[in-house]
């Protein structure tokens, strides 16, 4: 096993450092160094979306993204979205629309839907389906996720004008 290297990056807004090995992926880095378990490895091939993390403003598959590559980057995880007393509109919408069952894939969906609504505040059904093709849910709560995305879009709009 090869030697570790020290990297520095911004994690959910705060500067952090970690010693990582070349074969470590971003999910492992977040889980073992920082105790953040919202991004999870499932398929290990970047196909299911359970490991979705935002790096420099873009959603990536944390299971395929080598930890070393976040050196100097800004990393945002699902754990950044809520505060003690408030959930994000997307999180609220997922609860209200019952858009999950086991919840294992949910953080990945939440991250991807947040990015979708940043880019398309009022998405069409086709845009939603297309955008979320890379997020799979074995409990198959797709119809409920569709409802949640639309609800979240309304919540965000209402929040922006409030």
């Amino acid at each position: 096993m090869t030697a570790a290297r020290t990297i520095t990056f911004k994690l959910n807004g705060a500067p952090v450092t970690a010693d990582v090995k070349p074969h470590h992926n971003l999910v492992e880095l977040l889980q073992t160094h920082f105790g953040l378990t919202g991004a999870r490895e499932s398929c290990g091939q970047g196909l299911c979306g359970c490991c979705t993390v935002v790096v420099n403003g873009k959603a990536v598959s944390g299971c395929l993204y080598l930890a070393l590559f976040v050196d100097g980057a800004e990393v945002t995880t699902v754990e950044s979205l809520d505060t003690r007393d408030k959930l994000s509109p997307v999180q609220e919408a997922f609860i209200e629309a019952s858009a999950f069952q086991c919840g294992y894939c949910t953080p990945g969906f939440i991250m991807m839907v947040t990015q979708l609504l940043d880019q398309h505040p009022d998405p069409s059904d086709d845009q939603i389906k297309h955008y979320l093709t890379g997020n799979l849910c074995r409990c198959a709560t797709y119809p409920e996720v569709m409802d949640a995305v639309k609800l979240a879009a309304r919540k965000r709009k209402a929040g922006a004008t409030a």
Binding site: M1, K21, H23, Q31, T32, L36, T37, G38, A39, R40, S42, C43, G44, Q45, L47, C48, C50, T77, V78, E79, L81, D82, L87, Q91, F94, I95, E96, S98, F100, Q101, C102, G103, Y104, C105, T106, P107, I110, I128, K129, L132, T133, N135, L136, C137, R138, C139, A140, T141, Y142, P143, E144, V145
Partner: protein, 768 residues
């Protein structure tokens, strides 16, 4: 908080029947919900597995020397090492047939042969690559029908676990692959069939598919010489505790199973999976050991049963089915797991929801040299419905009868006996069918398409008997501030059981469900439950929870009397404790146990007046388009209807129906484990496709009817599996309607449809 003892206006129905948002919702959307796969325990080390590359063989040697030398490797373990800490390394719910690591023989490709324990999972992985093994390969048997007569035997001697009476006769059986031969006999099939005006015989098959929970299997065992704790992604912690205690020769109270939320299970995480291995490794390492599978490894743990179903029916001149013979072969793989129960419990409904006087059912659990098979959202029933509802439509077509009229003539109605002899009650098959037909606009003219795109529609109906007899226990604890905690062993793996159970407590105690705390499952504190399986929990645990809450309520009232409160007093609960104990102290603890009445089926005939406490009833209808140039099938409408008795949480019921139907849509249309010489060749999500956003039908309706379940808690019954039953045959019947071809085996992918179209045109394609 339990506000007061007797609130002025009793809010009956205020908690049950309400779409309470899930209690764990916040933890799940913030990514903070705990799962075993992502859990860490201080001091924990990691294990990875070296697996068999042959389907059937004697182990000649295992070379672990290179692996042991790798820095960071603590132990390389074979079954010989396991047997130094656990005398008998065999486990299983029905048979003690599965070794913790392969013992003398390997019986399927992917079977664990050795384990590496290391400080880091990557080191363990690397060390696994350095292990080699030599096998003397044996002939293997893969097909379930072949297995019945094959001279290749997967096991030399059968070892029933002793828990199930109908397996005892198989003790020490030799020269057989048969792990259970279930039979039902009613009337005289041979005579009635011989006399029937019309005779039909078909053979249906289902393929090997698997659960693929997104949280792969995971278990952390922390063995101490005085007690052991397992952190476990399990659907049945009580069973795990019993089995681990048995392996150790310990009393159960020294074994603790802690189960956080599950990244689902669908039946895969039942009974015992990684637990015995994790235990043995922790005993050897004398540290907590985590075994966490990769996605690929799930293909070598447990799958659904492939099946072959030969079904024969005799029909009289008026279209009444007078005789039916069912021969079902279940491909159980190398280890029995719960296969024999699947064989029996689904076998008893193999003749379908029809009123047939003369029935013969043989249902065979068979060992083969592939990944073991167990329960998957339906306990075998989806495979049966696939056959009998295809068969029903094929008969109606041949008899030139309308498929609705044909079913109406044959449906088993309430007050009539089921094929087991039990009188049907709370089994609204016809109302469910009528709801499907209504939502399909069945009586309206239907556009059959034109040119190269043909349209068709089809439907199916089914029932299932909930597994019986099983036991659930619950405890409701009211604390001195009036707050309420529920202890129940039902595992919330996504179905929303914590919320539904809290609603039942809330209904009895007249408090908001949201205020009830449901403790995470921990066998040190949560009482016994048979397992979260087979749609049993809402009914069985629901009864136990309701009784526990009623017991707590009665004890609160007794406490009020004891402290001198007048009858009907509306004293705040907290004041009650204050009065009794002089400070905020004490508890009121209610408990409840439920086990339904049951009469075992008579040996040989399978007849019983009381084989199940409730029937699940389902129907589905599909409209589809077939592109006759490619064979591609597009589902344009899918209607799913179930009877839920009473919807405790209507939104959860709808989500369960929808999720079950879509999961089964994947099994119907494209999912299949491809196996070549015993080797799974598509063991990854890249090669094994599951439903995504684009696979959801353009129109999908998920409907429940509420036919009061007269013996159910608040009139309710379970709905976790029921919407899986009819999707497959409804679509196959629709394809037949569209293009006149009948597919006898799932999946119904473009290739299968196109090949069938070419055969129909008299221009069959060559095989691959």
């Amino acid at each position: 908080m339990t506000d007061t003892l007797n609130p002025g206006s009793a809010k009956v129905g205020s908690q049950v029947g309400r779409s309470v948002p899930r209690l764990e919702g916040r933890d799940k959307v913030t990514g903070r919900a705990e799962y075993t796969h992502t859990m860490q325990v201080p001091g924990m080390v990691h294990a990875k597995l070296f697996r068999s590359t042959v389907a059937h063989g004697k182990i000649k040697s295992i070379d672990t020397s290179a692996a042991k030398k790798l820095p960071g490797v603590l132990h390389v373990v074979t079954v010989d090492d396991v047997m130094k800490v656990l005398k008998s390394p065999y486990y299983g719910p029905a048979f003690h047939d599965q070794p913790i690591l392969a013992h003398e023989k390997v019986r399927f490709v992917g079977e664990p042969v050795a384990a590496v324990i290391a400080t880091d999972p990557h080191i363990a992985d690397q060390a696994v690559q350095l292990i080699t093994a030599e096998y003397e390969e044996l002939e293997a048997v893969y097909d379930e029908v072949d297995a019945l007569t094959s001279k290749v035997y997967v096991h030399d001697v059968l070892k029933p676990a002793g828990t199930f009476a109908d397996l005892k006769h198989l003790k020490n059986a030799k020269d057989t692959n048969l792990a259970l031969d279930y039979r039902l006999r009613r009337g005289d099939f041979d005579k009635a069939y011989a006399a029937a005006a019309h005779k039909f015989e078909h053979e249906f098959k289902t393929q090997k598919v698997l659960h693929l929970s997104f949280e792969p299997f995971a278990c952390i065992a922390d063995y101490k010489d005085t007690h052991v704790t397992l952190y476990d992604s399990s659907q049945g912690p009580s069973f795990v505790r019993t089995e681990i205690a048995r392996l150790l020769g310990w009393p159960e109270n020294k074994v603790r199973i802690k189960v956080p939320y599950l990244g689902s299970g669908y039946g895969s995480k039942l009974y015992i999976k990684l637990e015995a291995l994790a235990l043995a490794l922790s005993m050897i390492a004398r540290k907590p050991v985590k075994v966490a599978y990769t996605f690929e490894e799930m293909f070598y743990q447990i799958t659904r049963h492939p099946s072959t179903f030969r079904i024969k029916s005799g029909v009289d001149k008026d279209g009444k089915i007078v005789a039916r013979k069912c021969e079902v072969y279940w491909n159980g793989g190398a280890y029995a797991d719960i296969g024999p129960r699947v064989t029996q419990k689904s076998g008893l409904t193999a003749a379908g929801p029809y009123d047939i006087d003369n029935v013969w059912i043989d249902s065979y659990a068979l060992y083969t040299n592939v990944t073991p098979a167990g329960a998957l959202r339906g306990f075998g029933v989806p495979q049966l419905v696939w056959a009998y509802e295809g068969h029903t439509d094929m008969m109606a077509r041949a008899l030139k009868m309308d498929p609705v009229d044909f079913r109406r003539k044959n449906i088993a109605r309430e007050g009539r006996p089921h094929t087991t002899g039990q009188m049907l009650k709370d089994s609204p098959i016809e109302p469910v069918m009528d709801k499907v037909l209504e939502r399909m606009n069945w009586s309206q003219p239907f556009d059959k398409g034109s040119g190269t795109v043909k349209r068709g529609r089809g439907f199916a109906i089914a029932n299932k008997a909930v597994i019986s007899p099983t036991t659930s226990v619950a405890i409701v604890n009211v604390s001195a501030d009036g707050s309420t905690t529920l202890y129940c062993g039902t595992v919330d793996m996504g179905q929303g059981s914590d919320t539904a159970m809290a609603q039942m407590v809330g209904e009895v105690l007249n408090i908001p469900a949201e205020s009830v705390r449901v403790t995470p499952r921990d066998t040190d504190v949560t009482p016994y439950d048979m397992g979260t399986l087979g749609s049993r929990s809402l009914f069985h645990m629901g009864h136990a929870v309701k009784r526990a809450a009623e017991d707590a309520r009665d004890k609160l009232k007794a406490l009020a009397k004891e402290v001198g409160e007048p009858e009907g007093s509306n004293i705040p609960i907290a004041d009650l404790f204050q009065k009794r104990y002089g400070m905020q102290a004490g508890n009121v603890i209610g408990s409840g146990i439920y086990k339904p009445d049951y009469t075992p089926p008579a040996p040989g005939t399978g007849q019983s007046p009381n084989v199940t406490p409730f029937w699940m009833v389902a129907g589905a209808g599909a409209e589809i388009e077939v592109d006759t140039e490619t064979g591609h099938v597009k589902i344009t409408k899918l209607i799913n209807v179930v009877d839920c008795g009473k919807a405790i949480n209507p939104k959860s019921v709808e989500t369960q129906i929808s999720g079950a139907a879509l999961m089964h849509l994947g099994f119907t249309m494209f999912e299949k484990m491809h196996i070549d010489g015993g080797q799974v060749t598509n063991a990854s999500l890249a090669d094994y496709k599951i439903p995504g956003f684009h696979d959801v039908p353009a129109v999908m309706e998920n409907i429940y009817i509420e036919h009061d379940q007269s013996n159910g808690p608040f009139g309710a019954k379970g709905v976790g599996e029921v919407a899986t039953f009819c999707v497959g045959p409804a679509i196959a019947n629709a394809i037949d309607d569209a293009v006149g071809v009948r597919l006898m085996e799932m999946p119904l992918n473009a290739e299968a449809v196109y090949r069938a179209l070419r055969i129909k045109q008299g221009k069959p394609l060559e095989n691959e």
